[in-house]
């Protein structure tokens, strides 16, 4: 299956050298290579994937905290509203 891409003319893109898919950020390209072409990577690309993956993990940790906060907020808001209405 092939996807279609729409890259803005003035944008800086990072293209995958295995499948040609363009990405807006270099770390996304690194992740993509690791996920979709794991068997073909050279050592530098493997290292780039690991680094990007570690960065992603810590960013996800932040995101989880914020999502948990939002959940608690929604829960208590509804609880309060139900108590008052």
């Amino acid at each position: 299956m092939t996807d279609d891409y729409d890259v803005p003319e003035d944008a800086e893109g990072y293209e995958c050298r295995y499948c040609g898919r363009p990405f807006a950020r270099e770390e996304w390209l690194a992740l993509h290579r690791g996920l979709d072409h794991p068997a073909q990577l050279d050592d530098g690309e493997v290292a780039a994937f690991r680094a990007a993956h570690d960065d992603e993990e810590s960013a996800l940790g932040n995101f989880r905290l914020r999502a948990l906060g939002a959940l608690v907020l929604v829960y208590f808001c509804l609880l309060m509203i139900y108590a008052l209405v």
Binding site: W28, L35, L60, F63, L71, V74
Partner: protein
């Protein structure tokens, strides 16, 4: 759908609407200790916000699942079901479909004229459009095997003209909207003769299409009914994969790539969703209030319904593409809009199925005994038919169906986003616009099923 059918359909909303008519729903909270009961009242806005919040919260919960391998495992889980080589089941299915078709035509033209005792009316609306459609997304799509027009087309010659690629699924989009319009405004559910005539007309058109373009092509591309059942079947746990039956978790087949291919098929999914909504929307008092000024200003009522149908479809489609545009920006991706629209359209089918169940399960259960009685004596009019009285708590099943449909949709969209984007945060961000649309849509559909039903205005 006409007044009589609406009355029966309406019990589902009825249980709710009785309580919600003045803006409050009452629920009973039993207290074990005191053995007493107290009524708590919940205003409509709070009921709707709770539904919306449930959907939003489930998105947050789904976003905690960040393990790609786990998501793949859930989606790939399945067991092949053994199918014998025997051609007997397929032949039997075709025979059953054909027998049903002949029954509907014969009883439609010759049977009793009271709709509640006419087998043709009951078989089409209760057995097929409510019952069989429900089995299509709850168990698996059997219409492909039953479709009597497909069986008839087998023996017809074919001219095998090439089907224009550019046209794609658009005839089925137009056909579906036309069917919804017919179903809503015409007395097809009241008048067996008219119903049988309409079926003859539809059959003529379908068979002509099958003869000109070839049976397989016509049913795969242009026939709206076949497509509705096929799409609903994707929500079901049992489906075809690589030529054999396979049991999966419900809704997981929706993540199959290229399930929806092209703008025409995206439009069909949106039309299916809009159709189920429109069906409920036109009988709300708000619809009457909203359209009153238009009719007073001189808009002919005959034009009102097709216009409202088309305008609402445009609105839904526009909102979807707008969300796709926002999603593309939020995710900062170079995938083009059409690709994203195709990826995120299948989850909408789970929502449509949930809404269909909310709308039709009660209708089906109420009239199932009548269908059985009519089946036993198709030509004589038994006078009174038995009707099932659902218990009071049953209204909650509709609400649960709407919410569960959204939950499945959120999970499938989550998986689709993980499949589309290498970065998991990017995948989460791409979901924001769709979740906003879904929260809004949940609230709208909960509002629609909680409104009192009024007769169709101006008809």
């Amino acid at each position: 759908m006409t007044t009589r059918r609406r009355r029966v359909v309406g019990w589902l909303a009825g249980a709710l609407s009785l309580a919600l008519a003045v803006g409050t729903a009452s629920a009973h909270g039993g207290s074990l200790a005191g053995g007493g009961r107290e009524s708590i009242t919940v205003p409509t806005w709070l009921f709707l916000s709770t539904g919306g919040a449930a959907v939003g919260a489930s998105f947050l919960l789904a976003s905690f699942v960040t393990d790609r391998a786990f998501i793949d495992r859930i989606h790939d889980w399945g067991t092949p079901l053994t199918v014998g080589d025997s051609r007997l089941p397929a032949l039997l299915a075709r025979a059953v479909g054909l027998a049903g078709y002949v029954t509907v035509l014969v009883i439609g033209f010759l049977g009793p004229t009271t709709p509640q005792t006419n087998l043709a009316i009951l078989l089409v609306w209760v057995g097929w459009w409510a019952g069989l459609a429900m089995t299509a997304y709850l168990i698996g799509n059997t219409w492909r095997a039953l479709n009597p027009l497909d069986t008839i087309a087998l023996v017809l010659p074919s001219l095998d003209r090439p089907y224009p690629d550019r046209v794609g699924a658009w005839p089925s989009v137009v056909g579906l909207l036309a069917l919804i319009w017919l179903e809503v405004v015409s007395p097809l559910a009241d008048d067996p003769r008219l119903l049988a005539t309409a079926i003859v007309g539809y059959s003529g058109l379908t068979l002509a299409g099958a003869v000109v373009f070839g049976r397989e092509t016509w049913f795969a591309e242009a026939d709206p009914v076949e497509r509705v059942f096929r799409y609903y079947g994707r929500v079901a746990p049992i489906g075809w994969a690589d030529g054999s039956l396979r049991l999966r978790l419900p809704g997981m087949d929706l993540s199959t790539p290229r399930l929806v291919d092209g703008r025409d098929e995206v439009a069909f999914v949106v039309a299916l969703l809009w159709g189920t909504t429109f069906d409920g929307l036109v009988v709300t008092p708000a619809f009457t209030d909203l359209t009153m000024p238009l009719v007073d200003a001189g808009l002919p009522p005959e034009l009102l319904y097709p216009l409202a149908l088309a305008a609402g479809f445009g609105l839904f489609l526009g909102a979807y593409w707008f969300a796709v545009g926002l999603s593309r920006r939020a995710a900062d991706t170079y995938l083009d809009e059409a690709t994203l629209a195709e990826r995120f359209a299948p989850p909408l089918l789970a929502i449509a199925a949930g809404y269909h169940l909310a709308h039709y399960l009660g209708y089906f259960l109420v009239l199932a005994p009548a269908l059985w009685v009519a089946l036993l004596s198709p030509l004589s009019d038994p006078g009174a038919v038995p009707i099932y009285e659902p218990p009071g708590w049953f209204g909650g099943v509709g609400i649960a169906a709407v919410v569960v449909g959204h939950l499945v949709a959120i999970w499938v969209a989550h998986a689709a986003a993980y499949d589309a984007f290498p970065s998991r945060l990017q995948a989460v961000r791409s979901q924001y616009p769709f979740i906003a649309v879904m929260v809004f849509y949940t609230m709208t559909s909960l509002w629609v099923i909680s409104r009192p039903e009024v007769p169709l205005p101006y008809l």
